[in-house]
């Protein structure tokens, strides 16, 4: 017994020494996270929420990743696609970051992906939902912790049909993200047997909706499916209600229509149904802990963007703890990242072969100014990624 104790003590000691030695070496060299997010302009709130969520996850682990200090380099993407390649190159080549985290805007993502391809830098997308990032553009060094437009809108197609809607008008901004979102809905809705009687494309980023609402009224569909976000989302839902259309034609949308906008929507949002991979009212343990921690840290309710930032942080926490903070072997690092599994506030979260989240999509209805979860619209939904099997 005594010898065993001595032996185990020695083993323990050497293990501790070993760990602390790696710590000493690693600590000299912090993990550099380059955050390329919008800190000005229309998407400011999204960039800030993602940053807050990410920092919260890392702070909960003592502000370290795999025993190494963390250095944040914040770069304002301005949500400007034309500046994206240059900004990303700066983070990778000049600042020599270990991970690039960004962006919010899909146009910016296109520019960043080009640089990611040339440099092989590891890029984690905490928002931008363009499908191609984890399909046609397939890169081992690119991960996504958010969603794709298709993933959040596809489940609504069946929901709409099951609610008895047959003739639907769809409306969005005339840009890639909006059209990808509508395509997901249309695919599922027409497969069920529904009909899209009109697809309305509004010039981006116009928020002057009156003429379109008049058009919708004269078409008199069973329901309207829409994708707008931010100020456009608030504008559309309020104008829709003030035109009285919500009394006769139910408004459906992907969750971005109302996400982060509940206060601004006021009464106009009541009854609007959306599908999304998160709702602040989800009753799982991880979410309750997250909501409480986020509220006490930042004094406001988190939204889906904060969760995406948080899960990006948790992904890094888990991966670097497996690796003991050693990021030198990139192949292994990518392998570990791809196998991360999280009990996220949004529910179980894992990653497909194309490094895209496999997650639940929830059907949510706004009641008393909150997104109440009505049902799980699709469980552990995988996105189409035939072009990318790694």
């Amino acid at each position: 017994m005594k010898t065993f104790n001595k032996f185990s003590l020695a083993a323990l000691l050497s293990a501790t020494t070993l760990v602390s030695t790696t710590n000493v070496i690693a600590n000299d060299d912090p993990v550099k996270l380059g955050l390329m997010l919008p800190y000005s302009g229309t998407y400011t709130a999204l960039g800030e929420a993602i940053t807050n969520g990410l920092k919260l996850a890392i702070e909960q682990e003592g502000g370290q990743l795999g025993g190494r200090e963390v250095e944040y380099i914040l770069l304002d993407s301005e949500a400007d696609p034309s500046k994206a390649p240059q900004n990303m190159s700066r983070l990778v080549n000049r600042d020599e970051v270990d991970f690039v985290i960004g962006p919010v805007h899909s146009g910016v993502a296109m520019g960043m992906l080009r640089v990611a391809q040339q440099t092989g830098a590891i890029m984690i997308i905490p928002n931008a939902g363009l499908g191609a990032a984890t399909n046609e553009l397939c890169m081992p060094n690119v991960f996504r912790t958010s969603f794709s437009m298709w993933q959040d809108s596809y489940p609504m197609g069946k929901v709409a049909y099951d609610q008895g809607h047959r003739r639907v008008v769809t409306i969005t901004w005339d840009y890639a993200g909006g059209k990808e979102d509508l395509a997901g809905f249309e695919e599922a809705f027409t497969a069920e047997g529904g009909e899209i009687i009109e697809q309305i494309l509004v010039p981006f980023p116009s928020t002057e909706f009156q003429s379109y609402l008049t058009q919708i009224a004269s078409l008199s569909p069973d329901a309207v499916y829409t994708f707008f976000a931010g100020g456009g989302g608030v504008g559309f839902v309020r104008d829709y209600a003030s035109a009285g259309l919500n009394e006769s034609i139910p408004l459906l949308g992907s969750g971005f229509l109302t996400e982060g906008n509940l206060a601004a929507l006021g009464n106009a949002g009541e009854g609007v149904m959306t599908t999304l991979h998160y709702a602040e009212t989800l009753e799982n343990e991880a979410n309750q802990a997250f909501v409480a921690a986020y509220e006490s840290a930042y004094g406001e309710m988190p939204d889906t963007y904060a969760v995406q930032g948080y899960d990006t942080g948790m992904m890094l926490v888990q991966a670097l703890s497996v690796l003991g903070g050693d990021t030198s072997d990139q192949e292994r690092l990518i392998d570990v990242l791809a196998n991360v599994q999280l009990e996220s506030p949004r529910g179980p979260l894992s990653f497909s072969d194309s490094h895209h989240p496999i997650q639940n999509i929830y059907l949510r209805e706004i009641r008393d100014g909150k997104h109440e979860v009505v049902a799980i619209a699709a469980e552990n939904l995988e996105v189409p990624d035939e072009a990318c099997q790694m």
Binding site: T42, Q210, G230, S242, A264
Partner: protein, 286 residues
């Protein structure tokens, strides 16, 4: 297109056009008389909307918020003119453009620091928070009708001031020949301060009165700026009458363009501008 649909769209176009006039009138005043291209025009529209949002939240009364916000916006115009623009009158136009461009950045950043990045809204105020039934499933907000009325009244007042008052004569003369007006013993410097403050106040007021109809978000002024320039260029630089008809044309074109030729919706206003410039290079009423 049936008659009811057409009439409602006509109403939509008119309402949008009138609001555009209110926003563009300040731009054309400043542009026409002072020769200053105020790129910060959209940012001032945004500041107006945020001011009224902030004050409505604090005071619980939209109308009181407007009454307090107007002097604040006027004071902002006064300060900008006296402290910054005043030193640049003798210099080339490029310096003034640079200054007002810088002001966009400063005002946008100030907005972010004071009010943050979230989207806000102002509820439609009583007694206009009701709606009338237009067709069997479409309602029209009474507040929109009220805004149309306000825009028309303001258009009338501006027209009357410029056409029928002594101040109006000076303004018109100043737009044609600044040196001559100065030579006649009129203090152009004071006139400029007045015009700039009034222009900023008008723009900010447009933001205030539009606040309940729109979503108040960062960058909301940037997109409106381009449309305003199109309005001013079509109507003729410096002409209030031109701004009015330019705004109505753009309002109608946007409304009907988006429904009748959706594939060209975002181009319609620029096509019209190009066509007008081909026929009348100085605008319709210059």
């Amino acid at each position: 297109m049936d008659l009811a649909f057409f009439s409602v769209q006509l109403l939509n176009g008119l309402q949008y056009g009138l609001l555009l006039f209110l926003i563009a009138s300040g731009l054309t005043l400043i542009f026409g008389i002072m020769g200053i291209i105020n790129l910060a025009h959209g940012a001032m529209y945004m500041i107006g909307a945020y001011l009224v949002y902030d004050l409505t939240m604090r005071l619980g009364n939209f109308w009181l918020a407007i009454v307090i916000a107007i002097p604040i916006a006027t004071a902002l115009g006064l300060v900008i003119e006296r402290l910054f623009l005043d030193t640049l009158y003798k210099r080339d136009h490029l310096y003034q453009v640079l200054l007002t461009f810088g002001m966009i950045l400063v005002l946008n950043e100030a907005q972010r620091i004071i009010w943050g990045g979230n989207v806000h809204s102002v509820p439609i105020p009583a007694p206009f928070d009701s709606s009338i039934q237009l067709t069997d499933n479409l309602r029209y907000s009474v507040y929109r009708l009220f805004v149309m009325g306000v825009c028309l009244v303001l258009a009338g007042i501006i027209y009357w001031v410029i056409r029928h008052t002594r101040l109006g004569i000076v303004i018109r003369a100043g737009a044609v020949n600044r040196d001559m007006v100065e030579g006649l013993g009129i203090n152009v410097r004071t006139l400029f301060t007045l015009i700039f403050s009034a222009g900023v106040a008008l723009t900010a007021f447009a933001g205030m009165i539009a606040a309940p109809l729109t979503s108040i978000a960062p960058g909301m002024g940037d997109s409106i700026l381009i449309t305003c320039f199109v309005v001013v260029v079509i109507g003729g630089i410096g002409s209030i009458k031109g701004a009015f008809w330019g705004a109505i044309i753009i309002g109608m074109a946007t409304t009907f363009g988006s429904v009748l030729i959706p594939s060209l919706a975002s181009m319609v206003i620029y096509l019209i501008m190009a066509a007008v410039l081909l026929v009348k290079p100085r605008g319709l009423f210059a």
